[in-house]
């Protein structure tokens, strides 16, 4: 059992939780994730570690309410417990002194960009961070991101905050200006990471993406998280989650992510009826 020490609604549909998990906090590095199971009947879902405090033995997760499990998790409050938290899983992001680095986060993917940018900066990189949200109401962690970046650009789809457009519009502009970029990291929806890779491929800028494939075990035995990278079958939990984005087959990733759409709907509808839940719009 793992205790929730803090819970906070960041923006509509996105929640933050601090969980007591000393062994995970002690080892966690940027890029790694946990697999959690809310209760005895629960499914195992992977969530990226958004922050960690080794001294206090606490990890922070930031998650978006999408289906039953994430909504159920969001009903838990400070003082409640979660059945299982396993981690840190996956390989830490490879962080060196690259030079000029661009970090790109989209939506809930902005959260794991924070520890990544922090470590990149600590390693002497010049960090430009581009974050994208749906609209002004969905902007979170901007201050935190500014604290660990040399430069920050914010985009919203509707232009209600920062620039109107997508993170890739800003990336493209930097590239068109002839700015030197030694490495790009992108974390967000699969389609965002795919478009980022399409943009950087033209100039062969190495781009690392953090894949959010389906997952069950998280520890290298079930093979649910398989992805195609460079024409080979790889496993997100054992070989990733970071991969060279130019080699990733995003179409297969996205198709496989849709495998359980119908079942997810059944599960969510049943739960909403049981608890009398109405979605906040």
């Amino acid at each position: 059992m793992f205790k929730i020490l803090e819970k906070q609604k960041l923006v509509p549909k996105i929640e933050l939780m601090q969980i007591e998990a000393p062994l995970v906090a002690k080892k966690a590095e940027p890029g790694q994730f946990v697999v959690i199971r809310v209760n005895e009947n629960g499914e195992r879902i992977p969530l990226t570690i958004a922050d960690f405090d080794r001294n206090k033995g606490v990890i922070t997760i930031v998650f978006q309410k999408v289906g039953k499990t994430t909504h159920l998790l969001a009903t838990k409050n400070k003082g409640d417990v979660i059945a299982d938290v396993l981690g840190p899983l996956g390989n830490p992001s490879e962080i060196n002194h690259f030079g000029k680095v661009v970090c790109i986060g989209g939506g809930v993917g902005v959260a794991p960009i924070y520890p990544l940018a922090r470590k990149l900066k600590k390693n002497g990189n010049e960090v430009t961070t581009i974050v994208g949200y749906r609209s002004k109401d969905y902007v979170f962690w901007e201050e935190r991101i500014r604290n660990v970046s040399d430069r920050v650009f914010v985009a919203t789809n509707d232009g209600s905050y920062g620039e109107k457009g997508f993170v890739t519009d800003i990336l493209k502009r930097l590239m068109d200006r002839g700015e030197r970029i030694d490495r790009v990291f992108a974390i967000g929806p699969a389609i965002m990471m795919k478009v980022v890779c399409d943009v950087t491929r033209e100039k062969a800028i190495k781009t690392m993406v953090s894949l959010n494939s389906l997952m069950v075990c998280g520890m290298g035995m079930c093979g649910a998280c398989r992805v195609i990278v460079g024409g080979e079958t790889k496993f997100t939990c054992a070989d990733g989650p970071d991969f060279d984005g130019h080699l990733v087959d995003f179409n297969i990733l996205m198709e496989r992510l849709n495998t359980y759409k119908e079942e997810e709907k059944i599960s969510f509808e049943k739960w909403k009826e049981e608890v009398g839940y109405y979605e906040d719009k």
Partner: protein, 466 residues
């Protein structure tokens, strides 16, 4: 005395009934049936069965006790060598081990040793449920601490022996439940999970500590265990990642590894979705690729989830199938459709990226290969397609690299298995290993045998005798 050449049959759920439920298929002996079968044992002086058993159970000894209706003595004898008899009585390939060498087998059916083991173990479980049981004997605590990595058959067997020898034993398990392949892999209808948990409960009563949600190699490493008060470590981390054929279309939605398919259904209880949250696709036409026990388990599970057709696609003939005869027979009885001497060459998907058919090719057998089995060769021009909406690939595993990567100096074999000598000692001092992570995928009982051997070596090592 008149010798009965035939084994006492064991009642089973009829195929037409059982293919619609997840309850256990064989129903076990009654006391009378057990005593009758026990009386077929010749109590021969050579007792080849003991050497046929990977954990060397005193088989004639416990069978004699059954015949004399002394079930407590029978279970005590078994427990001296085997801490999980209710499990092995169900899943051991006895026909290749103890029963293969039984002297009775020369004149008729061998004694049904596995069924008798199961009877005694179930008798013991019944007593435990009533609160009437006595714990196996245990030596005085010696103050030495041993960490066991993984709670599957090898880890449990190693832990069971060490706790009885007076060691302070902690098992680290990555999953939220203990049992390893016994809970995620082997289906409920072959090994009820409640039985696994009752057997593990007994080990906990003996004093074994179990820590779940800790993945050694990620949450903690082997060197950290040794630096944090553990005097020795046993690695029983299991077979590892599933293998795929790397043919076109293999990553379409609806194509599973057997490990994923079985983990969803067994460990996560997806067959009870949406009461349990983990989903599984319920398919109408399923292809299972492979000919081992895992393939049979997958095929029979798919059938129970409601498939109308389950095709078992295997590239060799029935004779070369590595699965237990009993599993093949049960699968056939339940209506699994065998496509032998057949191999898939690619999968074709629909517009949403879901598998809709498998293109296969017919095979013929050529010369013997390194495994001693005749090599399958494709017959050109024999391609044909089968319409399927689900594929389960059950063609084996490759070792998980996480532990070797995080343990300096740990030697691995050619295929990534952990190297260990005949005593189970690895190349790192104080670190022992056994089971599938050393041998590659094998059986529950060989893993248990390796766990017991390693326990013996750890005992010698910690007493300065190795």
């Amino acid at each position: 005395m008149k010798i009965n050449k035939k084994q006492t049959p064991m009642k089973e759920q009829p195929p037409e009934v059982r293919k619609h439920n997840f309850n256990e298929v064989p129903l076990g002996y009654s006391k009378e049936e057990a005593i009758l079968e026990a009386s077929r044992c010749l109590q021969c002086p050579t007792h080849p069965c003991i050497d046929g058993c990977p954990v060397h159970i005193n088989i004639p000894g416990f069978i004699k006790a059954i015949r004399e209706n002394n079930m407590q003595l029978a279970i005590d004898i078994i427990h001296q060598s085997n801490s999980l008899p209710a499990v092995t009585g169900r899943v051991c390939p006895q026909e290749d081990q103890c029963q293969a060498v039984c002297v009775m087998g020369k004149i008729g059916d061998p004694v049904a040793i596995g069924r008798l083991e199961r009877y005694v173990a179930d008798w013991d479980l019944d007593n435990r449920r009533k609160g009437e049981f006595k714990l196996p004997k245990k030596e005085k605590p010696n103050g030495k601490r041993v960490a066991i990595v993984g709670s599957g058959p090898s880890g449990l067997a190693c832990a069971g022996d060490l706790i009885k020898k007076g060691y302070d034993v902690t098992i680290f398990e990555g999953f939220h439940k203990t049992g390893g392949v016994l809970v995620y892999g082997i289906p409920e209808f072959r090994l009820p999970k409640s039985i696994v948990h009752e057997e593990i409960n007994l080990l906990e009563k003996l004093g074994i500590k179990i820590v779940t949600d800790v993945l050694i190699g990620r949450t903690m490493t082997i060197p950290e265990l040794l630096n944090n008060g553990f005097d020795a470590v046993f690695i029983g981390a299991g077979a590892g990642l599933p293998r795929f054929m790397h043919i076109p279309g293999e990553n379409l939605a609806g194509i599973y590894s057997a490990n994923e398919f079985l983990t969803r259904v067994n460990l996560m209880k997806a067959y009870k979705f949406p009461e349990y949250d983990t989903p599984i696709k319920k398919a109408k036409r399923v292809a299972v690729i492979g000919g081992g026990n895992v393939a049979m388990d997958s095929a029979r599970t798919a059938l129970r989830l409601g498939a109308e057709h389950v095709y078992l696609i295997y590239r060799r003939s029935r004779k070369e199938m590595p699965a237990r005869e009993e599993e093949i027979y049960h699968a056939e009885e339940e209506g699994i459709e065998f496509n032998l001497l057949t191999n898939p060459v690619r999968y074709i998907g629909d517009e949403r990226g879901f598998v809709k058919s498998a293109e296969c090719i017919k095979m013929q057998l050529g010369e013997k290969d390194a495994s001693g089995r005749r090599r399958p060769i494709p017959i050109e021009g024999s391609e044909f397609t089968i319409d399927v909406d689900q594929v389960i690939v059950a063609i084996g595993t490759t070792p998980n690299p996480i532990i070797p990567r995080t343990t300096a100096g740990l030697k691995t074999g050619r295929h990534g298995t952990i190297w260990a000598d005949e005593n189970g000692a690895t190349s790192v001092k104080g670190v022992f290993a056994g089971g599938d992570i050393v041998t590659g995928a094998a059986t529950v009982i060989t893993a248990m045998g390796a766990g017991r051997k390693a326990a013996d070596s750890i005992d010698k090592y910690l007493r300065g005798k190795l």
